[in-house]
Each structure stands twice: as C-alpha cells, then as structure tokens.
C-alpha cells in the first residue's frame, strides 16, 4: 500500500468500503434465521474485507471499515444494530490488528478469522448483557462459539486463497 498514490488509495478504500457494506447486506438478506441458530449469529462475510484491510493498511484502515459498518447499521437498521455491530466489531478489529502485529507466520487467515469471529461474538454478548441486564444471555455463548469456528474458518479460507492474488494485483497496479 505504501507505493500507492493518494488517488489510488482513495479508490481502493472506496472499493473495500463498498464491498464490506455489500457483503453485510448480502448475508442479512440471503440467510434468514435458521431455527437452529441463536438470534444474532452471522456468517461474517464482511469480516473478509476487514481482515484484508487490516493486512494492507493496519489498524487505521481496519477501524475505518469497522466504524463504517457500524454507521451503515445505524442508518439501515437502527441504534441497537449499530451498537451490536460496533461492540463486536471494535473488539474483533483490535484483536485482529494485535494478532497481525504479533503473528509471524504462525497463523493463516483461518486461525485469525476464527479468533475474530469469537471476539466479535464476545463483544456483542457483552453489549447485549449491558443493554438488557440479563446475564442469562451468556448461555448463547457456547452455541455462538461453535459457529464462530465454522464461519471463521470459512472466511479465513476464502482470504487464504484470495490474498496472494490481491497482493499480486496491487503490486502490479
């Protein structure tokens, strides 16, 4: 990213933002509540973009995407959705960037994706607990974690495959 001009960076961020929001919308519409799933469990497709942005431009880029998603949630789905998105998003992004800084080849995006998903859920549960005042919600935690593993692995695998190609494309841009 360092070698890009300002214009190129702006364009790239534009694309990434659009993708993040698009994926968010897609997964909300395409996947109705499966009765099995606890309410609030998501596939987290937009996390692919967050992880990608974090790899390319660190914390500042990733947090920008996270805040954008939160704002989008506020505009389209209301304050609660916004809080849910931000609480999970910020925690998840913070962990994501921490791992990227510390990790030297020990984890591929799969491991990172799973951890992101877990912390996203944790952040959301904490927010839900504060809002509703019910500790009982933690009962969902065990179910959410399992889905975190599955979805994190899925998004991680996607990025594992895509990342080299994206980096190659950016280098030759």
């Amino acid at each position: 990213m360092k070698n890009m001009t300002k214009a190129q960076k702006t364009a790239l961020y534009g694309i990434l933002s659009a993708l993040a929001l698009l994926l968010s919308v897609l997964e909300n519409y395409l996947i109705p509540d499966i009765p099995f799933l606890p309410p609030g469990a998501k596939i987290g497709l937009s996390n692919i973009i967050t992880m990608l942005t974090a790899s390319l431009s660190g914390f500042s880029g990733a947090i920008y995407i996270t805040l954008l998603k939160g704002l989008f949630a506020f505009i389209t789905r209301g304050a609660t959705a916004c809080i849910m998105s931000l609480s999970g998003g910020i925690l998840s992004t913070a962990v994501l960037c921490l791992i990227l800084r510390l990790n030297k080849d020990k984890l591929s995006f799969v491991g990172i994706g799973v951890l992101c998903a877990c912390f996203h859920n944790l952040g959301q549960l904490a927010a839900a607990l504060v809002i509703s005042g019910t500790p009982m919600l933690f009962n969902y935690g065990k179910y959410l974690l399992i889905f975190a593993v599955i979805t994190g692995t899925a998004t991680g695998l996607c990025l594992n495959i895509l990342m080299p190609r994206i980096e190659a494309a950016l280098r030759t841009a």
Partner: protein
C-alpha cells in the same frame, strides 16, 4: 492452513465442550417413562429407587436402576432395544419398534418443586 490455525480451532472447540458440561450434570430427579402404543403406562422416579426394579410391557422387560433404564429382554426378532446401552442422560430414548414400546429418561427441570405457595 498453518499449524497455529489448528491450535486455535481446537482450543475454541475445547472451550465449547467445557461450556456444555453443566447441562450434563445431574440435576435433581431422574425419571423413566415407558410408553406402549404412544400411551404412557409407567413412570418411575429413578433417583429415589432403593433397589432395581423390573417392569414388563408388551413383550419387553425393562430394568430401572438408580442411574438409568434399559431393555433387558424382548421377544422381538432384531433385539436392537436390548443391545442398546443403558439410557442415562436426559432425553435418552430407545424403542422396541415391533412391540411399539418406548422408554425415555427425563431429568426434571431446574426447579425442585411441583408448585409454589405464596
């Protein structure tokens, strides 16, 4: 995928298993129910059994013990019910299909009472 990924996945799953354990802990009374043709014909409170109890219904013999219930004899040809291990956990069920006998084990709700006086 790298080695570290496996560690992450396994640890998260292990955490899940830990979280699920409480639902398997004995929670008060365990009861066994026997249904023949869809009708409940016997209810036994397993946890308050002092000795084992046997019960016969529609060609099957069922054994009730403090920790669970099992089919010990049946006149059915496939003997699947008898081969099945003892039913111990809440929700465990086994049926002797030819004889239309079903045995279910239930653990009662968290509430250790039948009704509240107020």
């Amino acid at each position: 995928m790298k080695k570290g990924d496996y560690y992450v996945i396994v640890s998260v799953l292990a955490l899940c298993v830990l979280l699920f354990i409480p639902s398997f802990l004995p929670s008060g009374e365990k009861t066994a129910e026997v249904y023949v043709d869809g009708e409940r014909v016997k209810t036994v409170c397993l946890t308050s059994l002092k000795t084992e109890e046997r019960f016969e219904a529609a060609g099957c013999e069922i054994l009730f013990e403090k920790d669970g219930a099992s089919f010990i004899k049946s006149d059915c040809p496939d003997q699947l019910c008898v081969k099945c291990k003892k039913l111990k956990m809440n929700g465990d069920s086994m049926a002797c299909v030819p004889n239309r006998v079903v045995v279910t084990v239930r653990a009662e709700k968290e509430n250790n009472y039948d009704i509240v006086a107020y």
